[in-house]
Subunit: 158 residues, 2 copies
DNA sequence: ATACATGCAAACATTTTGCTTTGGC
DNA sequence: GCCAAAGCAAAATGTTTGCATGTAT
């Protein structure tokens, strides 16, 4: 139920499909009017490959940001990607915002240590989907989505 | 299922029980070593009476903060109350942190407009409790709790 | 050639801390 | 009187914007 790292072979498949996804999103981004820049490529790749939400700083300081793009640039790219609905911004307890790639029909929930801030992706069947539909109907809100995080003391910190 | 404002009579009961709760918490705070100051009294009362999470600014600028306590003071009181487990800090999408009173056996989820930031409390049976126990067991994390928010465009903004 | 993207630096918003004074016990 | 709490102001943190320059199209 918790997320485990995959075997070598499986990681290989992951890597392939991640590369594909990054390429697809780059195409979609271009179709939406963005230019094909090194920063955009890097940022998409970083987000697609990450197994957890990343902050602006995480991305701006990632060794995979090979273009060495400035924080402001990363910020502006993230804003655009969010506007296009390619990524989602999460509000965790940290002062900074976190971002994840958005894939149709896919949704992740997280387990976060209140002490050290460690973020762990949960491999669970999210029990909220049905409820979400119901709330959408009854509230009059549109384009509903949800954010579910579990907080607690991780084994190391406890 | 969404939260509706109560009738006048019912509000009266709410008011009574809120007052009781605030008094109880003040006692507990004193027992925990805090001094009985006007700021502490005000802040507890404000939080207990609020039907939604409040930011530091919300509290510091509330007319019910009759002592006119400084922001730094409010901040330090909130930190203490959180340490004591009387309140919980929420990370919403806003840049600021939000606080809610914590009551044993009680838990609220929220519906938030991505456009105007309006926060609405949901009157739902949260479907996550069972899952939480399960995750606690399997992850080795302690003192687990969760935060569930629904985001979307509210009727006014849509 | 044009408009979008970038880098750098400055402006912002919010939280957090230091230090002196006030006030609860 | 003692130590926690408050006030004020400054530091810290993270986000956002302005503007001159570079670059994808």
């Amino acid at each position: 139920m918790l997320h485990h790292h995959h075997s070598a072979t499986c990681q290989h498949h992951d890597e392939d499909s991640a590369r594909d996804l990054a390429a697809t999103m780059l195409d979609r981004a271009r179709a939406a009017g963005l230019r094909r820049t090194k920063a955009l490529e890097n940022i998409l790749s970083i987000l697609v490959h990450s197994h957890q939400p990343l902050s602006l700083a995480d991305i701006a300081e990632s060794p995979d940001l090979t273009s060495g793009a400035d924080k402001a640039t990363v910020y502006r790219v993230l804003v655009k990607l969010e506007e296009l609905g390619f990524i989602r911004r999460l509000g965790l307890h940290d002062r900074s915002a976190y971002y994840t790639i958005l894939q149709a029909g896919h949704h992740d929930d997280y387990l976060i240590c209140t002490q050290c801030g460690r973020i762990q992706r949960l491999d669970i069947a999210c029990p909220v989907e049905a409820l979400e539909k119901q709330i959408e109907k009854q509230s009059g809100f549109r384009k509903l989505y949800h954010e579910l995080e579990f907080y607690g003391l991780c084994p190391k910190c406890a």
